[in-house]
């Protein structure tokens, strides 16, 4: 049995079980820990697919930076006392979730799979490495969106500082 197949089944099992934990754990700390587990499993799936740059960025940005945000806010907001899951909506969510899954499956099965195959065949990627291929596209064709992304991060940082100020309620 191929090692990539084994890695896929183990990592996807971890990801799905952790996702169940994220959704159904009552304690929010456990939910965040499950989120970290799911993020690291998804990062492993990226490595398994051959996208090393994205997998590394996933660990660096998601599993470190964003989760630290959550832990900081959870440590500030006191423990949530009420029930975790709203029973009124728990039953309702099943048919809507099933409908969403069917829609995604329909689009995936009947979508235009072969529309526009790119130039980065496995031979090319083998030669120049995945990180170089992604970075080449990022800094040539997608240079303007890249700059706009930096602007969005700056605006978000200023917004977070303004929202987090202590005297925002009194103003």
């Amino acid at each position: 049995m191929d090692l990539g197949v084994v890695a896929f089944w183990i990592l996807s099992a971890i990801a799905v079980v952790s996702a169940f934990g994220v959704v159904f754990f009552k304690n929010i700390i456990y939910a965040v820990l499950s989120l970290i587990s799911a993020l690291i499993a998804i990062s492993g799936l990226f490595f398994n697919l051959g996208a090393e740059l994205v997998g590394a960025l996933q660990i660096l940005i998601y599993a470190v930076a964003i989760v630290v945000f959550y832990v900081l806010v959870i440590s500030t907001v006191p423990e949530y006392k009420g029930e975790a899951v709203d029973p009124k909506y728990a039953l309702l969510s099943a048919p809507f979730g099933f409908m969403l899954f069917m829609e995604l499956a329909f689009v995936s099965v009947y979508g235009l799979w072969k529309s526009g195959t790119g130039i980065f065949t496995p031979q090319v990627v083998q030669e120049i490495s995945n990180a170089k291929a992604v970075a080449t596209m990022l800094f040539t064709k997608y240079l303007f969106p890249f700059e706009v992304a930096s602007l969005i991060l700056l605006v978000a940082m200023i917004g977070a500082i303004v929202l987090g100020k202590k005297d925002i309620v009194e103003d």
Partner: protein, 100 residues
């Protein structure tokens, strides 16, 4: 090598789980965490399609999604802090002034 369709099934499963989380949870921080799960499922689909179609544009978009997720977490958690200071609560059923 695993067929790429399996990755899409996994992506759909995680997307549905995040969606169910957004519907059923009452803690507003848990809603944001479920949103992160949905963003990650989209990332898996992007990378799987990329490897299938021999392109790297999807991975570039995963990079942008990571950026937007960081911005979203910062702004969303800042808003949660502001709401908590005003209402002393993080229960979504209690924050219902705009309910028509």
């Amino acid at each position: 090598m695993v067929p790429y369709e399996y990755y899409l099934v996994l992506s759909g499963l995680l997307m549905v789980l995040g969606f169910i989380g957004i519907i059923v949870r009452k803690n507003i921080i848990a809603l944001l965490i479920s949103t992160e799960l949905m963003l990650n499922s989209v990332n898996i689909a992007f990378v799987a399609f990329d490897m299938k179609l021999h392109d790297v544009a999807g991975q570039v978009f995963v990079f942008f999604i990571l950026t937007i997720a960081a911005a979203e977490a910062a702004i969303g958690l800042g808003l949660i802090m502001a709401i908590y200071r005003m209402k002393k609560d993080v229960d979504v059923t209690k924050i219902a002034e705009l309910k028509g």
